[in-house]
Structure formats: structure tokens, C-alpha cells
Amino acid sequence: MENFTNSILLPENLPEIESNTFNLLDKKYLRILLLQNLILYLLLSGALVIFLLLTEQKPPIFITLSVSLIIVLAVGLSLAITVLGFPKKGYLVREKDVSFQKGLITYKLTTVPFNRIQHVEVNQGILAKMYGLSSVKIYTAGGTSSDLVIPGLPVDDAQKLKAFLSEKISEHE
């Protein structure tokens, strides 16, 4: 391997990652994301209402209105980004690596080669449990910055992916 000299000047021979070949996440995962947004909205507006009820000196109506407007706008924006960005989210498993892409405004594509994975975990949050979804977390060595999470997978798929990846890891040990 030491004498390997495939110059970077001839990149057309290298396998490429096509972003349209990615597997989309389960549709139900969008509902979870929207629910999360809604919960955040309820918390924010709840905090505002409680503040207005408890405070002695009522702030001017102008400020109250603009704060509520900002909350509504922020939530609207975040909902729009969630809905529009959802089709951008996806994962891809190739022969030798696993990738995840996301992002409407900032597109991010991350790839971890199988021979660098330390271990794999399947997680399930409360909301995800209600919809029968799981996420697969892929750990690499060192800090957390290179860990890869694939959310919004049906429980069966997540288990299968984990089993597949675990087998791939053991091949490299």
C-alpha cells in the first residue's frame, strides 16, 4: 500500500457520492420534527404568558406584540425549514462506508469509512417510540465531533443497519 500513487489529478476514476442516490428518512420522522417544533413554540409562548401574568409592571403593548411576533415568525421559519429541508436528509450505505446528508441552508455531507467505526448503537427517544422509529449512532474514536447519527429509521431497519455495520467492523479487527 505504501507505493500506491493514484494521483489526485485523475479523479474521474474514483467512486463518487451522488446525492440523489441517498435513502430518504421515514416520513413519520417529519411528524416528530414538527412535533418538536410545536413543543418549543408552546414552551416559548407559555413562558411569555406566565411572564405577563406574574409581572407587576406590564411592559408596553408595543413590546409585548413585537416579542410575540418574533416568536411566531421564528417558529414559522423553523417549521418551513423543517418541511422543506426534510427531503434533503438521507443516508447512504456503500460497500466500504456510510454517509449522511442534511441541510437546506447549509448542506452537510458526512462519510465514515467502515474501518474507522468503533461501535454502533441503536437509540430511541420518547417521541420516536410512539411512531416506532429509532436512530442509529455510529461512534468513531476520539471526541464526539466525528460521530454520525442517522435518525428516523423504522425499528427493524435500524436493527438491520446496526447488525450490518457491526459485522463490517468485526471484519476489520
Partner: protein, 495 residues
């Protein structure tokens, strides 16, 4: 002491009893200080001398018993290719780690340990139990034996196929870099005084407040006088503060550098570096070549005058003890740097490849971030006084200059097995790594970058991330694909 036999369970040095005792006193105080505080405040309990003496004695006896039990139940040994550590008497704990998973074996010595002539030994793993694999008191000769044994045991396992390495095991340790006190003085002077200064200001401010509380009346008297004097000569005040600040900062830096890097030695033995340094807290860190992820070096305007580079060896981090895993040489000369680079990365080939700069659009983004954004936020204040507009012009040109400096230093060189990234603004920093050390690659593109066909790359290894911002989209994709291919066919051990 004889050669230690690692297969039989061994206890720490007997001298360790004293050390464990001190550590447990410290722990006990840490745990019970609120209780002690309450007892001291309600001092009517202390009227009876006997009660005090008896309670202190009981506490001490308990601690002594704890120390002895802890000592007697603390064993370590090697069995079936695993390093095993047993500890605890109430709650028994067995920690075991396969020898080939051990990242490095380090020793440290604080003042008490120096007096007792023992060292503490830490075993670093890439996992999370690393913190617990710590032996507080080992006989000095014993620890070097253990260190070499652990290392050679590991080596045998790794290189069982190559016989040549076996012969070399007895190779002499070679001194690569040694810093004398005068070197350290130079290094201390060339430190980043702005940062040191800020620490001092934060620290000094606290002390000042405490002093103020203590001597409030007198201090007010003096400070009024001082303020009266200073306000008459505001330029004198500024000049005085500047000189004072600089002096304190230099002294502080000198002191810190001397303390931390006293008698600094970088030694090499086969494929392993060893770093020794410290005046009060002595450390001894071992860096095997294959565990090293990245070599960073840095120089600044003042450092350049002395021809000094600051070196950092980056090893795999395990999350919790992130800071311990970074080994730095505060100063080395360019010939030392060249030697290390050749040693780690082979003959210099990267300089044959072109410097690839970040796109000039990167400057615009930096300028918006550092220059325009603060100005826009400050707009409401601008209308109060015309003089602020001068400040705006000044700030914008300053931030433009700064962003320009960043852009000029942001480039990288890549060939088919290494990458070197250059960055910095006023100081200049380089990061070099072998490409197969990569464990994940990220391609990032904002919608603004997409319009200009630009993208950024984030290359992560086990010690951190190297960023290549704002390069051509095509090039970023090609590098991305190449890096994955290169890593996936690599069979070298990367950590």
C-alpha cells in the same frame, strides 16, 4: 529492585501509604467541608476540648484504616494479554484493558511524590475508563520497568510478524530536543502576552475586589488620591497601565513557562517519543508514532525574531481527558522542526505541490462577521453622536485588515498521502497529518457558497478536526472522494 514480574498481582510501593493517606484526607475534606464549616461556626460545641480531640482522632484513625485497607486491596498484574487493576475493599472493582488497546503509559510526579521518590502512573485508553487506570505510588525504578514491559508486550503483539523490530528493541534513547533555562527565557518572552494579560486582569480584578472589601475605607482614600492624580494626566495613566500590564504579563509568562517546561527533554527511542519536563510537577509522557494523529506547529511575530516554533503533538483523545492527551513543546528551532517532520512524515514532498488558497470570498464572509455585523448591531448608538462614525470607519478598516491577514495565511498543500494546512492571522500555524488517519470527512456548502461553486471540507481524525474553508466545489468533491478511497484501502494502524 528486581525486575518486576507482572504476571503476579503486585501492590503499590509501601511509601504509597503516605500518599494515599494525604489523598484521602484531601478527599475527606472535600466531601465533608460543609459539615466541618457548620461545626466551626457553631463553636459552642468546641467548648469541650475533649470532644474536639476525640472527634479529630476518630477521623484520623478511620482515615488510617481506610488507607491501609485501600493499599492492601490495590493490585495490578497482566494476565491473558490484559492489564488488570483490582481495587476497593467495600465495593470491589476490577478494571481490565487489553494491552493492545493501551494508547500510552505516562508518569507524573508532584512535589510530595518527588520527596518520596515515587511516581504516579496513568494508562491512557481511547475509551472512557482511562481516568480510573491510575496507580498513585510506584517505586521509580519499578515504574520504568513496568512502562517498558507494557510497551514491549504491546509491541510484540503488534509486530509479531516482523522479526527486525525485535532486534531493535534495545536501541538507545536519543535526545532530540532539550531546552535550557535561557531557551525558556526566550520562549517566555515570546508568549502571547495578550492572553496572559487577560488572565491577569481577570485574576487581578478579583483580588482587587477582595482587597477593597477588606480595607474599604483606606482604599477609598488612596484611590481617590490616585484618581485625582491620574485624571490630571490621562495620557500618563494609559502609558503607565500599558507598561505595567506588559511587565506583569512578561513576568507571569516567564514564570509559567519555567515552571511547566523546566528541564524539557524530547527523547526518541525506536518509534516512540518521550517528553520529560516540569519543575514542581514533573511529567513524563510517551508518544508512540502510530498513536500520533497530527503534528501542529506555530510561530508568531516575536517568536519569529528568535526563530522559535511552538510544537504540539496531537494524540487520540478520549473525550474526558482531552487536555492531557495534547503534548506540547513550547519552543523549538526550525532544524528541530525539520528533523521531527522528516521523522514523522518522511522526506518533505508536500512543498513540491502547489499552495491552494481559500477563495477570496472567504475574506468577505470574515469581514461581514468581524466588521459589519458588530456595526449593524451597534447602529442605534450611532445616531447619538457624530464621533461614533469615525469609530465605525476605524473598526471596519481594522477588521478588513485582520480578515485579509487570515485569508493570506489560509492555504493547504496535499499529495497522495499527506496534507498540510496553514492558517492564522497574526501568528502563523500549520497542521500536518497523514491522510489515512482520517476517520470521517464532511463536505459543507451554504447556499451562498453554492451560488459561487465553493465548499468547505472538515477532516476529522481521532484528535480533532482540520478545516479547509472556501475552496472550489469540484476540488472539494475530488479531495472528498480521494480521502475516502485512500482511507478505505489503508491497512495501517491509525491509532
Amino acid at each position: 529492585m528486581n525486575k518486576p514480574d507482572l504476571s503476579i498481582p503486585t501492590r503499590q510501593s509501601v511509601k504509597g501509604l503516605a500518599l494515599i493517606f494525604i489523598i484521602s484526607i484531601r478527599q475527606a475534606i472535600k466531601m465533608f467541608w460543609p459539615l466541618i464549616l457548620i461545626l466551626v461556626i457553631q463553636n459552642d460545641i468546641f467548648k469541650d476540648r475533649l470532644v474536639v480531640v476525640i472527634s479529630i482522632l476518630t477521623a484520623l484513625i478511620l482515615l488510617v484504616v481506610h488507607t491501609i485497607l485501600y493499599y492492601l486491596n490495590f493490585y495490578f498484574f497482566v494476565a491473558n494479554g490484559e492489564f488488570v487493576l483490582k481495587k476497593g475493599y467495600l465495593r470491589k472493582k476490577v478494571l481490565s484493558i487489553p494491552l493492545d488497546r493501551i494508547q500510552s503509559v505516562n508518569t507524573k510526579q508532584n512535589l510530595i511524590q518527588q520527596l518520596l521518590n515515587v511516581v504516579s502512573l496513568e494508562i491512557d485508553t481511547a475509551g472512557t475508563i482511562g481516568m480510573e487506570l491510575k496507580i498513585h505510588a510506584l517505586e521509580n525504578s519499578f515504574s520504568t520497568e513496568l512502562q517498558t514491559l507494557l510497551r514491549s508486550a504491546k509491541k510484540e503483539k503488534l509486530d509479531w510478524a516482523t522479526d527486525e523490530l525485535q532486534e531493535k528493541t534495545e536501541a538507545e534513547e536519543k535526545l532530540i530536543l532539550k531546552l535550557s533555562t535561557s531557551d525558556l527565557l526566550k520562549i517566555g518572552i515570546s508568549q502571547n502576552h495578550l492572553r496572559a494579560g487577560l488572565i491577569i486582569i481577570a485574576f487581578g480584578f478579583q483580588i482587587f475586589q477582595q482587597i477593597e472589601d477588606l480595607f474599604q475605607e483606606k482604599a477609598e482614600e488612596y484611590s481617590n488620591e490616585l484618581i485625582g492624580f491620574m485624571s490630571n494626566s490621562s495620557w500618563a495613566l494609559i502609558a503607565f497601565l500599558l507598561v505595567f500590564f506588559l511587565l506583569v504579563s512578561i513576568i507571569f509568562s516567564l514564570f509559567r513557562t519555567l515552571l511547566k517546561y523546566f528541564d524539557f527533554k524530547l527523547l526518541k527511542k525506536e518509534d516512540t517519543y518521550r517528553v520529560e519536563s516540569g519543575l514542581i510537577n514533573k511529567r513524563n509522557v510517551i508518544i508512540p508514532h502510530n498513536k500520533l494523529q497530527e503534528l501542529n506547529w506555530e510561530t508568531g511575530p516575536i517568536k519569529q525574531i528568535f526563530g522559535i516554533y511552538n510544537l504540539v503533538f496531537k494524540q487520540a483523545v478520549s473525550g474526558q481527558n482531552r487536555r492531557q492527551q495534547v503534548v506540547d513543546a513550547p519552543g523549538c528551532l526550525s532544524r528541530h522542526l525539520e528533523l521531527l517532520k522528516t521523522d514523522l512524515f518522511g522526506d518533505e514532498q508536500l512543498s513540491l505541490n502547489p499552495k491552494i488558497y481559500s477563495d477570496s470570498y472567504y475574506f468577505r464572509r470574515l469581514w461581514i462577521l468581524f466588521g459589519w455585523l458588530p456595526v449593524i448591531i451597534a447602529t442605534p448608538f450611532l445616531f447619538s453622536e457624530w464621533r461614533f462614525w469615525g469609530g465605525v470607519v476605524f473598526w471596519l478598516s481594522l477588521s478588513a485588515g485582520y480578515s485579509f491577514l487570515i485569508l493570506k495565511k489560509r492555504y493547504f498543500r496535499i499529495n497522495n498521502d499527506q496534507i498540510r494546512v496553514s492558517k492564522g492571522a497574526i501568528s502563523h500555524k500549520w497542521e500536518q497529518m497523514k491522510l489515512f488517519k482520517i476517520q470521517s470527512v464532511e463536505f459543507r456548502q451554504t447556499i451562498f457558497q453554492k451560488r459561487r461553486s465553493l465548499a468547505s471540507l472538515h477532516l476529522t481524525n481521532a484528535s480533532g478536526t482540520i478545516t479547509i474553508p472556501y475552496i472550489g466545489e469540484m476540488m472539494a468533491k475530488q479531495i472528498y472522494n480521494y480521502l475516502l478511497y485512500h482511507t478505505e484501502i489503508s491497512e495501517e494502524r491509525w491509532m
